[in-house]
Amino acid sequence: MGLNECTLVELTEKLRIGEITTSDIIRDIESAITQDEGNKYPLNAYTSFDIESIEKEIKSQNKKEDTLLKGVPIAIKDIINVMDTPTTCGSGILKDYISPYDATAIKNLRKNGGVPAGKLNMDEFAMGSSNENSYFGVVRNPHDRKKIPGGSSGGAAAAVSANLAVAALASDTGGSIRQPASMCGIFGIKPTYGRVSRFGLIAYASSFDQIGPITNTVMDGAILLDAVSGYDPKDSTSANEKVPCFRDFVGKGLGGLRIGIPEEYFGEGLNSEVRDIVERGIKILSEANASVKRIALKYTRYAIACYYIIATAEASSNLARFDGIRYGTRFVDTEDLETLYRENRNIGFGDEVKRRILLGTFALSSGYYDAYYLKAQRARTLIREDFKEAFREVDIIVTPVSPIAAWDIGELIDDPLQMYLSDVYTVPVNLAGLPAASVPCGKTKDRLPVGVQLIADHFNEADIFRVARIIEEGEKGAE
């Protein structure tokens, strides 16, 4: 078994006893990538994997013995700034951009002995649910290369699932960690908004964006989240709250947690195979003696509209800085300012990004602000309150991640609205700023993985890790 197939737990132990070095792991990863590139349909999971710069990273790594990660290489979604490394956000407008600074999450990762190794492909500026919107090309699903891996962290999910990375740091704005994790059959958690610093995470929608891990196991996810969490004075929206040691909760049992099942997440539009798999997950929990209760989240049907208005509004402003003046690629250099702006943005941005910028600009423009942006901000309050009420009765809400398993590449690309609607089960979590994970729970008859979503109240990630581990174990037993 190659080192690229090991878990974080196994690798840190091997590194601790000196059986292997970081370079050994990198070698195995590199050969796995090379092998994949020989495939008729390569996964295309990385935007860059530069051995030279990774060797440099290894040399400068934190070699103190007591670090958590002990030199394990972690692949990074290309939306997170890593100093002196290309940081493209999957966009043409940043295709040549080398970041001059480290994101706080990367600083924390380094401090804990992690080694940033390779940048992962993604939907441009994290806009997409299929990873078909990248300047660097489509990412494929390792379980069926004709299928999408999910998005926007498609590269991260595909790489971890196919052992082209041992673990990854990604980001989730409306489901971008959970949905690809579900579709690629691995674990992914979006922590509470504010848990991991956003400083250095390129903003798509600032009030939703959150960094989190994508890993092969629940324990690996807990370890990686332990490594990057914590208050950051450089992020005004960072949570100044105590961070529990998440890995301590993996395998701790249910501890009397109450499970809630919202009927709105099991209605029309949910694929029956997916429903069966999620219900199997619920069965695993009730067999573990969890109390399971039906609950209502009555504003769920408004979440997509609410999310896409606010997210695109914020995005239209966040992406205005990409104008070819201070950094990035100046595709066209003219003497006319207006032309310079327009040509560069036109060439630099892909269709989905332009669509969302237009939508968001519209939602904020005078005359429409009240009808769209403000209305959505109000609706957001109702959705948040909805969850608040639910968490009075239950500790963990269990739902599907996506209404369908991975679809064919190209299937929805011309129908943006249908694509948006596929985010129906993941966006409410971001609207409310809650933590949620996707845990593998089974496969469809076409052997496509399906995950189950676990949602907890603010800062209760520990409960998610307890429950996730039980599903992980139960699911393995079933296989």
Binding site: N81, A203, D235, S317, A320, R321, Y327, L364, S365
Partner: protein, 478 residues
């Protein structure tokens, strides 16, 4: 038909902080271009703002000085527009919930009567970078982001100003207030105070408003006044001729002493303000606001009235002394407990201001501290030196920074009060000027002054004038 002007101002004042509004880059002026930059103020992807607490404190103090209601809840918004000096393509400002609302400033109108100018709002925002243009008119422009992100307070007035002179006095009052409270140094050369004006004309007695002209970005009060004077004439002429004005944005061309229309592209303007999701609301309790209110230094108007009464000064004295809080504080430090403060005021208004002007220095840079000035006065009062010598000693103090007594000692300027010594010099003088002495004794009393001068010359000005007069008269009459 006669017209009156309706004038409103928008003033941008740089807050006196060490670091920028949302990052820890220095605000220091005149350094190498782009040397005070970081991911935040360059708007690099992924960078986030964190608000400077000192900018908040200064903003609150300014609001209180302007008699505004300080908001218990305020938020930052993004003002979205593209320009090369604006790295994020939005400016972080305050829109719906500004820090300060609804204040006023008292000024004298042209008849000398007190009048209130309403303050609509005074909110916080960040400055943009600086654009420099190539000498070649076809060449490019260059951007320096050192100034980008520096904290500003934008003060917006009600259209309450009626004449260019009033505008000038209002600006003076604002500047003094901001300096007194140390909210801003208001250094105009460094662009720390910039003014946009709105002016329209209407028939006397009308309540409505005419067509507004905006004149942007002036950094001298004199220019504001000249621009307004020009606009009053220009608009009056157009209206008299029966033509209509069109709303315009103009610039003041100093070389022509005229306003000219600003060249602007016809582009869509819609700033799409919305609350900045990267920043959280600022809330203040009533107690917090009150604490700052109590710590507010004395404001210019109050200081003028108090100094006038307490030290028995004239209107002119306090007007000049209080034009700068530093000068006023200097005066108080020197005059406090002194028997005739008016003398100190006179000295400051003549001698001190003279040397400051001659040397082009600020009061802070003057080596003669208030204590040292008091020492000089003590030497005069105890007759160790004469008033005339004192002026020379003062110049020396300014130059060397030494104390008055050190200089008097070193240069041997001590007044000669030894009677015997003075008698000796007078006897000598009488002997050497027989003819003049005879004239005096013949009744030509006015040559007395000439003889005094001779005696002073011989003593290099150090003889006590009082003693010289007394003894000389005695000798001549005898």
């Amino acid at each position: 038909m006669s017209f009156e002007a309706v004038i409103g101002l928008e003033i941008h004042i740089q807050l006196n902080t060490q670091t920028k509004t949302f990052c820890s880059c220095s605000t220091s002026f005149g350094d190498k271009p782009n040397s005070h930059t970081c991911p935040v103020c360059l708007g690099l992807p992924g960078a986030l703002p964190v608000f400077n607490e000192q900018a908040l404190n200064k903003g609150i103090m300014a609001g209180l000085a302007l008699k505004c209601e300080v908001a218990e809840f305020s938020i930052f918004a993004r003002k979205n527009y593209f320009y090369p000096d604006l790295p994020k393509s939005y400016q972080i400002s305050q829109y719906e919930s500004p820090l300060n609302k609804g204040g006023y400033v008292l000024i004298n109108d042209d008849e000398g009567k007190k009048r209130k100018v309403g303050i609509t709002r005074a909110h916080l925002e960040e400055d943009a970078g600086k654009l420099i243009h190539d000498e070649n008119p076809k060449g490019p422009s260059f951007v320096d982001f050192n100034r980008c992100g520096v904290p500003l307070l934008e003060i917006v007035t009600e259209p309450d100003i009626r004449t260019p002179d009033e505008a000038y006095r209002f600006l003076q009052a604002i500047k003094e207030m901001m300096q007194y409270t140390e909210v801003s140094e208001c250094n105009m050369e460094k662009g720390e105070l910039r003014v946009d004006v709105n002016i329209s004309m209407r028939n006397f007695g009308d309540q409505g408003f005419g067509v507004k002209q905006e004149i942007k970005n002036m950094n001298s009060f004199a220019n504001v006044k000249r621009a307004l004077e020009y606009e009053v004439k220009r608009q009056t002429k157009i209206l008299r001729s029966g033509q209509k004005l069109i709303q315009q944005t103009r610039l003041f061309d100093v070389s022509k002493s005229a306003t000219v229309p600003m060249r602007m592209k016809e582009e869509a303007h819609d700033y799409r303000y919305f609350p900045d999701p990267d920043l959280v609301p600022v809330t203040l309790t009533h107690d917090q606001i009150e604490r700052i209110q109590n710590s507010l230094p004395e404001l210019p108007q109050n200081k003028r009235e108090r100094l006038k009464k307490q030290y028995n000064l004239t209107d002119y004295d306090v007007e000049v002394l209080c034009s700068s809080h530093k000068l006023a504080n200097y005066f108080e430090a020197a005059a406090n407990g002194y028997k005739s403060p008016k003398k100190i005021a006179n000295w400051i208004l003549s001698e001190l201001i003279r040397v400051l002007n001659e040397r082009r220095i600020e009061i802070d840079d003057c080596k003669v501290t208030p204590t040292k000035l008091r020492d000089l006065f003590d030497l005069m009062d105890s007759k160790v030196i004469s008033g005339k010598i004192a002026k020379a000693v003062f110049d020396d103090m300014v130059e060397s920074g030494q104390s008055a007594s050190e200089i008097v000692e070193k240069k041997g300027l001590k007044q000669v009060t030894d009677r015997a010594e003075i008698v000796k010099v007078i006897v000598e003088t009488i002997e050497e000027n027989e003819k003049v002495v005879r004239d005096y004794r013949d009744g030509k009393k006015k040559v007395f002054g000439f003889l005094v001068g001779k005696v002073m010359q011989k003593t290099h000005g150090k003889a006590s004038p009082k003693l010289v007069n007394e003894i000389l008269r005695e000798k001549l009459e005898s």
